[in-house]
């Protein structure tokens, strides 16, 4: 049995770790709430873009826009979103697993691919593999993306797709279902899909300036941008949620460990006291004899 001094030091260490994990859990919970709110707040933007596109589809052929052009996929661009930091449970490993699956599919179907890595963990992984060409790496994106970081990613994807260098653009990200359920997903953003809105809300006799084509270009760009932005926000909410859960488990484990060690220390201390008493009684006995 370990000495009481050693056990005391271990208990102190475990309690310190517990304080850190508890603090990280609270920080992650607060960030998750903000990320969830941001996810909800961006929904009207996507809906408005869809409604405008629905109205526009009555005046011009939306499918003729380069963003909607469907081609046989020979090369595709994968935008992989993971985190900059670890300690978020299976968050990064789930994304890497999904990414490897996609690379295997491409390998089997003889599709070439290029990758945009978002987050240090993805960048570190992508740097180690040879199956893909790296188009860009984005690290240290803010906790609350404000849309500006989106443009560089969106412009890269748009240029590659419209120039015909890639035939599809997919995002691999973690979809936030609820605070206890997040799923790694593959979402095709280009060629863009278009689901008509129920109520376009735009007057049928509206004039389009400068032209329907230019307005369509502006809306299509924003619709695709909104999808990428939504994926970024979902990924952030999922990361904080998974970190919160991981830190809660770590805090619970630290509590259990501290309890076990305290029990062990009390036993050791009791043992030492019993031994000391036995020795004293033995000494007294010896003196009486």
């Amino acid at each position: 049995m370990a000495s009481t001094q050693v056990l005391k030091s271990r208990i102190r260490s475990v309690k310190n770790t517990k304080q850190i994990t508890k603090a990280m859990q609270l920080v992650a919970a607060s960030k998750m709430r903000r990320a969830q709110e941001a996810t909800k707040a961006s929904a009207p933007y996507t809906l408005a873009a869809r409604e405008l596109l629905t109205a526009l589809s009555k005046h011009t052929s939306v499918a003729r826009h380069p963003f909607f052009a469907k081609r046989t996929v020979k090369t595709r661009l994968l935008i992989v979103i993971a985190s900059d930091k670890g300690l978020a449970g299976a968050y990064n490993s789930n994304i890497v697993k999904t990414y490897i699956e996609q690379l295997r599919i491409d390998d089997a179907t003889k599709v070439k691919n290029t990758t945009i890595a978002i987050g240090r963990k993805t960048a570190q992984f992508v740097a180690r593999i040879k199956d893909t060409q790296v188009l860009g790496v984005y690290e240290n994106l803010p906790d609350q993306p404000d849309g500006r970081e989106l443009h560089a990613i969106l412009d890269s994807a748009r240029l590659k797709f419209t120039s015909g260098e890639v035939d599809a653009v997919d995002i691999i990200y973690t979809h936030f279902v609820s605070s206890i359920n997040q799923q790694a997903r593959v979402l095709r953003v280009l060629p863009a899909g278009f689901k008509a809105a129920d109520e376009p809300g735009v007057a049928s006799d509206a004039t389009y300036e400068p032209s329907t084509e230019e307005v369509l270009d502006g809306i299509a760009y924003r619709l695709v941008g909104a999808q990428i932005f939504q994926a970024l926000l979902d990924a952030r909410a999922s990361e904080h949620s998974m970190r919160m859960l991981a830190m809660k488990n770590a805090t619970d484990n630290a509590s259990d460990l501290a309890d076990d060690l305290t029990l062990e220390m009390n036993k050791a201390r009791q043992g030492a006291i019993t031994e000391e008493l036995a020795e004293i009684s033995g000494g007294v006995e010896a003196l009486n004899e």
Partner: protein
């Protein structure tokens, strides 16, 4: 007419207004109730909102917007932009410093990509500075 200003970060305005001045690809347009239905490309600039018919120019509220789409119907205006900030939320000194930094970046840009990014930054901070100035002047009217 009802004005909705929607950005990637959420809805910034959702209320009844009397007049809206907005920069579009064809120039600035003023929108009043009963305007002809129109869908136009909005460009980066300042939008001005007059909430009531009786409000004078000192009550105009300014917002800096990035490019987007504006949709006008008889009774409503919907503006869809990536980014929008109220004049009161922009700190003039910060915008001025950011604009100066962006100009230095533009002058020192080595590649086409750096130049494009610097141009975007210059445009963004110019608009923000203009809106902050408009907001300050309005308070002194």
């Amino acid at each position: 007419m009802h004005l909705t200003l929607t950005t990637l970060l959420g809805i910034k305005i959702d209320q009844v207004v009397y007049e809206l001045i907005i920069p579009t690809a064809a120039g600035e347009i003023a929108v009043f109730p009963g305007h002809e239905p129109l869908v136009a490309l909005a460009v980066a600039g300042a939008i001005a909102v007059r909430y009531k018919k009786t409000d004078d120019d000192s009550h105009l509220e300014y917002f800096a917007i990035s490019g987007g789409i504006v949709e006008i119907s008889q009774k409503a205006v919907r503006v869809l932009v990536d980014e929008s900030d109220h004049g009161a939320d922009i700190i003039e000194a910060e915008s001025k410093a950011a604009l100066e930094r962006a100009i230095v970046l533009r002058n020192n840009a080595g590649t086409q990509l750096e130049l494009e990014k610097a141009h975007q930054l210059v445009d963004r901070h110019s608009v923000r500075l203009k809106v902050a100035e408009l907001h300050r002047r309005r308070r002194h009217l």
